[in-house]
Symmetry: D3
Subunit: 68 residues, 6 copies
């Protein structure tokens, strides 16, 4: 199954913080740290935990560019 989202960054989960509605997932991708806010329900259904191999997926329209 292929998704139109252009950006798939493979990495490893380093931290999961669960709130009531949302969850913060931190992923190490190469030398970068990516933080993601998803629903707590998704975090639970995917059984996300430290050490999991995952991809951070980002739609191209959500990416800004900073220069200088």
């Amino acid at each position: 199954m292929a998704l139109s989202a252009r950006n798939h960054l493979k990495g490893e989960i380093t931290e999961v913080v669960l709130g009531t509605v949302t969850a913060l997932i931190t992923v190490k991708v190469g030398d970068n740290i990516i933080e993601s806010v998803i629903t707590r329900k998704s975090a639970e259904e995917l059984h996300l935990k430290k050490g999991d191999k995952v991809a951070a997926v980002i739609k191209a329209t959500e990416v800004m560019i900073q220069k200088g």
Copy 2:
């Protein structure tokens, strides 16, 4: 100046495609390719071109997680 967006990925522009309203900016970040859709006006005002050192900036609420 500090921005609340959690994710700043430093890289180099490899391609700029200009449309009438939007522009596609491709950035090499480590071993990954990041694609960004911004306004053509921003691409022009920032004079974005191949070889520019930039950062891809992404709000944490826009990042999904894929597993398995």
Copy 3:
């Protein structure tokens, strides 16, 4: 492969409009019409065309509620 995005709506593509950078994909989902703006590159790489069986995928943080 499982994605954290909560919403997957299965349907059939009824129209593809290609711009220079973006593409408009229209999908019939049950009695509803869903419109999606993705990159032209994604539309081409997925070979999206009228009649394709696809899913519209939406992150829960992108959904608003209207009442009354």
Copy 4:
């Protein structure tokens, strides 16, 4: 009053979960379930509750396409 957001999916709320800042609203739309994360303030000001007739509203640029 007309809104530029292309997607309005009519349905009925099946669950409301309130967090401190955000709320998770689940809406049944035809045979599909749509989940939405909005602010708790909006959920309270709109008095959202199970059984409410609402629409899930989604900007076209937030919709991805999955195929295959």
Copy 5:
């Protein structure tokens, strides 16, 4: 009809640029200029043109904070 999006900024359209798929709508809100990218279809169906009284509507999860 009430929408969960928290931010409604009233202003006047100062420019409309139509692309093939998207449109850039510029709105003067008090002393600020707001730029919006929507679908060309929405711009046409709402007959958006210079001088129109409109509101820029933004979901709270899409707003970042910059300090310093």
Copy 6:
């Protein structure tokens, strides 16, 4: 440093509400109130508090238009 996001609205923070994962930041911009949901981590790292001079930053693709 210049960011591609088109919209920077200067104002003053009037309220900060901290959840476990997210935070709600309310900013007075001219005669308007802007509400923003960011991560709690960003709110803490930027030391956001009532009275702070900040800018609300919004990508143009996240802005909808309402008319009539």
